[in-house]
Symmetry: C2
Subunit: 225 residues, 2 copies
């Protein structure tokens, strides 16, 4: 069990303002965790007692259906906490979420006991944990709105823009894009071909180039994919 | 502010085993709440400080898209707690859920202060609250799986069977059924007509009669709608 490098608390702003005695509990019971890319953080029916605080890198949380189709629920980046590890202990049988590192991840793991102590003792720690829960529920509600109410075309356009951000070319397969928006690979390939025909994107193996962001933006509409 | 009738704690089994001092906090800070059917319990951007424990009746929690299409997220019955009322305070702007009573509802409202006191003081109360959070997250994940991965036909068949339970005739409009499974009314009407043609249901205004449950069950498949 390695002690995290000093100053890690400053990366979690709600925690850095805790009084010294509560910060001492946090730092005294935390271990540094380093995970490579594509490592399993969480699987259904797998009990994991530690409470994870992400310092660097990105974790993808997703579900699989019985045919192995994936849908992305949310991502955790620096400053986030992974609530599934603690929640799963409570509603174990009903969970079907997986979590995998998308990049190398550095995290801090807090022991169960310290988590319980801080929940009992610190109103600010409780509010930090509850805020994370509320944000994850809001994430799930956003996924539901998108999947239930937005057309595949508008979700795909919104997703391409979000993933591209300020780059023009994306390294992503049609299968991965399907997971991002909860659809099937064939459906995504068909829509991408339509987008290409309209001159909005160029397609190559494992690569998509955005050529007309303005048209994609109009198609994406005011949604929040 | 009315005091709830004695013995209400026994209806929430995890709470009835709290030690006397913690039970005294609960009973001392709780008020009886009676709501008629179709009353608003919760709306986006509406701050509601109380923590609600449902004793009788049923609350429907749902989202609306910008065209007013509804999708049901989950229902709360006797013994449940409504976590949205507390969660919304934390992630206020990002929530888009509504809650409405489906029947007359009797509930107990706990003050914010008592909620905070018990969260600080009682490990069992915390576990009761976290379990409710975990169950609601599991509910949202189930909705996502259903909407993303199951065909409308299999979701509709599963929903008809679940709503009918041991009755044969359902009083429900196509619009309401659409909300149950996150689809549009026209889509539902088209599928219901197909079901009727196959002899699985009979349709009348505001009413659906199940005539071939076995075929509906085969269509519903092993999913968990």
């Amino acid at each position: 069990m390695n002690t995290p490098s000093p100053g890690w608390l400053a990366e979690f702003s709600p925690l850095s303002t805790l009084p010294p005695d509560e910060r001492a509990i946090l730092t005294g019971a935390s271990a540094s965790v380093a995970l490579p890319a594509d490592a399993t953080v969480f699987e259904p029916h797998q009990a994991c007692g530690a409470f994870l605080l992400v310092r660097q890198g990105r974790i993808r949380v997703y579900q699989l259906d019985r045919d192995g189709n994936e849908i992305v629920l949310y991502r955790l980046g620096p400053g986030s906490i992974c609530i599934l590890t603690t929640m799963a202990l409570l509603a174990a049988d009903r969970y079907s979420a997986f979590a995998t590192t998308e990049t190398a991840v550095e995290a801090v793991a807090l022991t169960d006991t310290a988590f319980e102590t801080l929940m009992a003792r610190s109103g600010r720690f409780r509010s930090f944990v509850f805020t994370a829960h509320a944000e994850r529920m809001a994430d799930l509600m956003r996924v539901i709105r998108n999947v239930a109410f937005e057309s595949i075309e508008s979700r795909l356009a919104a997703r391409l823009l979000a993933l591209a951000a300020d780059r023009r070319a994306l390294s992503i397969t049609h299968q991965q894009l399907a997971a991002e928006i909860g659809s099937a690979r064939e459906v995504i390939s068909r829509h991408l071909k339509t987008f290409e025909r309209r001159g909005w994107v160029s397609l190559a193996r494992g690569r998509i180039e955005v050529r007309d962001a303005a048209s994609l933006r109009r198609t994406a509409g005011p949604g929040d994919a």
